[in-house]
Amino acid sequence: MIRTDLDRLLAGAVAPQRRVFRLAGALAALAVAAGVLLLGLAGWFITAAALAGLGGVLAVQGFNYLLPSAAIRLLAIVRTGARYGERLYGHRGALMALATVRARLFERVLAVPDVRAVSAGDAVTRLVHDIGTLEDSLVRKPALPAALAGGALGLALTWLASPWAALALLALLAGIALGAHLAAPRLLARAATDMAAALARLKASVVDHASASPEILAYGLAPAIGRSLGAEAAALDAARRRFARGEAIIDAGLTLGGGIAMGAVLAISHASAPMTVLAVLAAAGAIESLAGYVRGVSCNALVAAALARLDAMAKGHPLAAGGAEPIAMPVGRTIAFDGDGAHVRLEPGERLGLAGRSGSGKTSLLETLAGIRPADAGSGIRLDDRPIAALPREAVRAVFALAPQDAQLLSGTVRDNLRVARPGLGDGALWAALEVACLADDIRAMPQGLDQWVGDGGARLSGGQRKRLSIARAILSGRPWLLLDEPSEGLDGETEARLRDRLDAWLRETGTGLVVVSHRPALLALADRRLDLDSYRILAKVAADPRARD
């Protein structure tokens, strides 16, 4: 798996936090070392004290108990403090680094060529969940220094008792680490992939179905759909349980290893009793200090699955260097449609009405012009006499402002929705556009005016209001061509007439060109020319055939 692109992205986000991560690693090592030493020293102290106690008054007086007892208390405090610091800095570094990664990855989603194909539920699973998984793996960064410090200190203390015992401990430490690395892919990797896939599927299904609320209610579909969702969820549960079991087995290796280490050192050591006890407890501590590292190995299975998905997203759509590049040449002064049915050429400011039966491809044509549907080489659309398929998407998008048939609004305020059109728009411009779209009176009547919340995807507005808000937004973008798809659908006759007059005046004042799709004669009257897609065969065939590409 080549991860260069994602690696660069991650490295770039982690770099500013490098000092935080180093500090966290040092504190983790300190905490683990203090823990190993605390238990070992306590064992040594008790055993030595017992032997001195048996040796009589002189032996007791010769035993310096102040130093070890002070050290024991100090170690208890150091361990607590270092551990708190390690956790805090480890999490700070990880969270801050990943806030950056998250935003970068959203930019990648935006660069997907056919934006209509991105499924909402799936994209969210990727971004929120996968990045959360990465976060966990970054939080575990200090586990390696901790394991190394604990292991080294344990080995050194065991060496004091017996080199052979130290060798046995080394073998156990290596065995546990290796065992975890070997077991994780077998026990966990498959479960992790299944888990993530099942979660994504479940979410996508719930989003799909939840958007069908009125139908679900009207036709009483909730129980049936709930059952089928429950069946999908069972796959998720099964994978999760397999993962938990695998993780527990790998963890249990530590418990078993700890017992074997204590037994082995006890059996091998021929040093004095206090030194033997020190070695036994230090060996147990060394094994325990591997815990964080082994946990991390377990989580690697999750991280690998997340990385693979993020990578697919990052690699497929590399970001243009330096972000938004200026458009190289002016595009879109003229539009030409070439087909065997017709030849139409539009000069700046001209207007064209598109007619045709339902399903003849009018909407597809507008979406192709707007650059949100990939253009086909045979589409016969030319901008400035160049085939649209050969032009950069950004250049095409910069020429057209689309008010689509299905007015897509952001969940936010009226202002949020209008300001998407162009940066630096003041309220005056927003109201002017609302006037043209015949929506200003409606907005003024709302208690919070421009700050009115429009609901989920604009659900608080009526169909006609959504449409007119979308028209106002297209007007605000200041592009040379306006594309309107059924702009008056859902409007009463009087509003429709007003909308036509105001649009007519606005188009004339600004010299903006227009391509309009409508079934209604009133709106088609805005255009000086008409193209009937029923007879315009090449274009109609290509544009109406999205499945050929899917």
């Binding site: 609320s213 969820a233 407890l281 952001l410």
Partner: protein, 527 residues
């Protein structure tokens, strides 16, 4: 019942793990004592016991984890049964974004898993296990046992203080996470708009700010959550230190007070090794504390979506076309309201609703289905409150947006009446004018569709919705601009088909089309 036994088994396994720890300590102490006395044979016997006890512990830990996970699966299944039906019929004007609803339905339920799998059983084990350990320690040294128990008092106080603060912070963080998730879904849904207007940078920056805000909030939570684990760490270390110092001074005979007991090396080592075990259940519980915060906050949100189920009211199936009456109905979306409207639709008649855009025609249909919040007035169905009558599942509906589920064209139409046979489904499709679509792609009624109905034109979508109404054969029809998006010829055809099929039913149709309105028995213009 089954869940409770799973949960009880989990607790037992965790307590058994603590019991095995006592054997580990005893074997180790016996081994060292044997070595100190020069009895190596006994020491090797102790080594064997040590390994066996460690193996038992490992087995108990695996069993406890697995039983906990089984309990979580059952708990989550219960939530899904309660929550999914609610999420699926969320009101379209509801303030929660669709993405948040998804996060609620899927992520929040997953969030409750750790609470049942780990936190609940560990909390019970954290009460029983330390007591078992302390009693065992008392067998070696009652003072050491008392030291362990005594450190519990300040520990408990510290945990109580840290715990409440952490819970508050966790609730705030969960809100932020949920909003973030909702924001992502929404902006991804609106991708065509965002890229169309070149707003990538601005929207991207907004999202970056939102994610940084979540990171900052998470850090606030963790600062507090880590205090509670630091308290446990401290007292765990303190109890080891105190036990070590007491035993050492006791063995040396230099205690600053009269020795309450005479310890041997074996007894002293036994209690020393048990000292960290005393706090281990609490440390495990602390590691699962995040599961508790997330799980409880998630459960609270889920309760908000799906209040504890009351038995559904008896539903009388609607066999006859009902009479409808809207009596001063006001629909209140927060600050915006529409209405009041008063309307009468006699049983078996059709009424066309007209009026300027935004007046609230669609909202009236939603309100009848209970999908719009009623701010005043009453909706009566055959004289009874609409909320009491089982309208759900008994209505023919064609809305402004037609919903699709992944599957075939036939499957999508059949949603309206699952028991309909293939012939009936195809007949409804052809009556709705889907004939050309069925023929064109060579797949007939098996034409595959995704959840967006990609590849269908606006008019074809409408026709799918109309085919559903025709197939449903319900006594009440609610039609919301059924012929919009159709060219004049098609609209007239569909209007005629609908008018013929609607005869004898109660029909409420919202339309701007004169042709369609003319076919209704009456028309009313809302003002």
């Amino acid at each position: 019942m089954g869940n409770r036994s799973n949960s009880r088994a989990t607790v037992l396994f965790w307590v058994a793990d603590g019991g095995a720890a006592i054997f580990v300590a005893a074997a180790l102490a016996a081994g060292v004592a044997a070595i100190a006395q020069g009895a190596r044979g006994n020491a090797l016997l102790a080594v064997g016991g040590l390994a066996a006890a460690a193996l038992l512990r490992a087995a108990m830990q695996v069993a406890a984890t697995d039983a906990g996970e089984a309990a979580a699966v059952r708990a989550k299944a219960g939530w899904r049964r309660r929550v999914y039906p609610q999420v699926l019929v969320a009101a379209p004007g509801d303030r929660r974004m669709l993405g948040e609803a998804v996060a609620d339905a899927v992520d929040r339920i997953e969030d409750t898993g750790g609470f049942h799998a780990r936190f609940l059983p560990l909390r019970r084990a954290a009460i029983v296990s330390p007591l078992v350990i302390a009693i065992a320690a008392t067998l070696g040294s009652w003072v050491a046992g008392a030291i362990m128990l005594a450190t519990l008092v300040p520990f408990g106080l510290g945990m109580a203080l840290a715990g409440t603060a952490a819970a508050r912070a966790a609730a705030r963080q969960l809100d932020a996470l949920s909003r973030l998730s909702g924001l992502f879904v929404d902006r991804v849904r609106a991708l065509p708009v965002i890229v169309g207007f070149g707003a990538q940078d601005r929207i991207g920056r907004h999202l970056a700010d939102a994610t940084r805000e979540v990171a900052t909030r998470t850090l606030d939570v963790l600062k507090v959550a880590f205090v509670s684990s630091a308290i446990i760490e401290f007292f765990a270390a303190l109890s080891v230190a105190l036990v070590a110092l007491y035993c050492g001074f006791n063995l040396l005979g230099v205690l600053p007070f009269p020795a309450p007991e005479k310890l041997s090396l074996g007894e002293a080592l036994f209690v020393l090794v048990l000292a960290p075990e005393f706090y281990l259940p609490m440390r495990r519980l602390a590691a699962a504390y995040h599961d508790k915060q997330v799980g409880e906050a998630a459960a609270e949100r889920l309760e908000g979506i799906a209040p504890a189920s009351s038995p559904p009211p008896p539903r009388s199936p609607m066999v006859r076309p009902p009479a409808l009456r809207f009596d001063g109905v006001v629909i209140a979306y927060g600050e915006t309201t529409v209405g009041p409207f008063t309307l009468d639709v006699p049983a078996g008649t059709s009424l066309a609703l007209r009026g300027t855009t935004g007046i609230g025609k669609s909202s009236l249909l939603h309100a009848l289905l209970g999908l719009a919040p009623l701010g005043g007035g009453r909706i009566l169905v055959d004289g009874g409150d609409a909320a009491e009558v089982a309208l759900a599942g008994q209505v023919g509906w064609a809305g402004q947006t037609v919903a699709f589920v992944p599957g075939t064209l036939a499957g999508n139409i059949r949603l309206a009446r699952p028991d309909a046979d293939d012939a009936a489904v195809e007949a409804a499709a052809r009556r709705a004018g889907l004939g050309p679509l069925i023929e064109t792609w060579g797949r007939g009624m098996a034409l595959p569709l995704d959840h967006r109905g990609s590849g269908l034109s606006g008019g074809e979508r409408r026709r799918v919705g109309i085919a559903r109404v025709l197939l449903k054969d319900a006594p009440l029809w609610l039609l919301d601009e059924p012929t919009a998006d159709l060219d004049a010829g098609s609209a007239a055809d569909i209007a005629a088909i609908l008018a013929a099929a609607a005869r004898g039913r109660t029909v409420l149709v919202v339309t701007h089309s004169d042709a369609l309105a003319a076919l209704a028995d009456r028309e009313v213009t809302l003002t």
